[in-house]
Amino acid sequence: MQNVDDRSSEQLIEGQHAGAECGQTILYLDHAASSPALPEVVEAMRESLLQDVANPDGTHAAGQAAAKRINWAAEQVASALNADSSALVWTSGATESIDLALTGSMDFIGGGHIVTFATEHRATLDVAEQLKCRGSTLSVLGVDENGEIDLDELEQTLASGATLVSVMHVNNETGVMAPLVEIGALCARYDVLLHVDAAQSLGRFPLDVDAMNASLVSMSGHKTGGPKGIGALYVRPGVGLTPRLRGGGQQAGQRGGTRPTHQILGLGAAVHAARVAGPAERERLEFLGKRLWHLLAQTPGVILNGAAASRAPGFVNVSVDGVHGQALLAGLTLGDPALAVSPGSACSAARGESSHVLRAMGYSPRRAAASVRFSLGWTTETRTVERAATRFANEVGRLRQLAHGA
């Protein structure tokens, strides 16, 4: 991984963000939405675009060369899961992976009882709701005020009869981590399929499909410094899936369409880089996250969401008293320096909603709306979080002043 001193998040965005106003500085702290592509990813993709001219399913030498490079990428991704590379299905991203995992498995089985959690990503909740409309039973379990699930409640639900559990490893809004080993043990005890949404954790944490007894694992490329438009699904051998894309029969019929060699190479390079960076990068993000929260907490009325839970490094989700959520987000993102942050998640924002995750944690709509997610990543430096914290404090103070007398 390139030394972050060489390319700060500010330099990166100033140089590449087409949406930035002239002279505007953007402090990029939205890695959970999308992490800028790593230099080695860009290079791998450039090389692939130039060299891998053939269809990787071609039987000629050029096709086989492309397939060989895909196999290298598959080894990288599979190693991050302690899985066999032949168990991977390439997709367009985590959303498609989740859809294939849930819909594909339930269609193959012929429907059943799906168990998931109220803080899951909409990619899961929406698909689960759709499956419910098609005849499956759906249980959406709650969480406590820290976003943590209740294992006893989960066990009771599984004991009543279930087919599939879907849970995310790292929550994309709060960073709260699910106890996958314990959940996997429960699923094994009750013979239930486990699908893990690892969009936020691929490459950042060691994953072991056997230790967590996972049948299906969804992954994303662009959350870990890879390209957008590529993801993968791990499918444990023996787990049946009805394909969602049928035409062409590629990938053993599990997902039709030509494999995008350069995208896959980019994902492989990203996972390789993340694994090399490994614990040192996690430690660095842990330090930066704590530094950011320490600075944000200097402003009265700022609350860390999920504070008591086990959280992934680099996630700082705060709610702010006395400011309107829309004004806060607009003030932070439109001003200068502009903060690239999200109100919970980009997907919630796209739907015009306040965070369903924070509301599921029992927070009021006002508190959920007045929340900001800072997500740090490989481009984040100490000065980035310090400037962001100063900007945040100034904006909160300004909006509170504007609300004075209202």
Partner: protein, 165 residues
């Protein structure tokens, strides 16, 4: 009592040009740098205050007008707003509008007997001046509600036990 002048349906207001040609004519610019926010240490004794809320948007607004002893136009207009950025921009714009009124061109005096219902700056003035979408019209309506509150007070005095929340 403050006698506030505002344009009527037949009147021509000098501020219409401001509405059409506001050089800082987007809501984003006004939201980021409003010039008419009520200062924390402002002494509002004797000022008229019009309040409005938009519960669906979790928004509340107050317009403050300073009395002017020998003029019928507000000398100073200020606002306090808790709500979406559009609301803040609209509140700042109406304050600038009110401060820019010229008495000779005004033909409505709030509080005067027999006055027709005044015509507030029409919604499309706000929309053009601030480049806001029709879907954000709630902010304009909140501003108009606050002005109506002031109008009511001008004519009838403050309501007893009035609770705008």
């Amino acid at each position: 009592m403050l006698r506030l002048v505002l344009p009527t349906k037949s009147g021509v207001c000098v501020n219409s040009r401001m509405a059409r040609e506001n050089p800082t004519g987007t809501w984003q610019a006004r939201f980021l740098a409003p010039r008419h926010a009520l200062a924390a240490d402002a002494d509002c004794t004797g000022w008229l205050v019009g309040r409005a809320t938009s519960p669906v948007d979790d928004a509340r607004l107050a317009i403050y007008l300073a009395p002017a002893a020998h003029h019928r136009v507000p000398r100073i207009a200020r606002f306090g707003a808790y709500g979406p950025p559009i609301l803040i921009a609209c509140a700042d714009w109406i304050c600038e509008y009110l401060e820019g009124l010229r008495e000779p061109l005004a033909n409505v005096a709030l509080g005067a007997s027999g006055v027709d219902t005044p015509l507030w700056p029409p919604i499309d003035w706000f929309e053009r001046a601030l480049a806001i979408a029709a879907t954000d019209r709630f902010a304009v309506i909140a501003v108009q509600d606050a002005m109506t509150d002031i109008l009511f007070q001008c004519r009838h005095g403050p309501l007893q036990n009035y609770d705008s929340d």
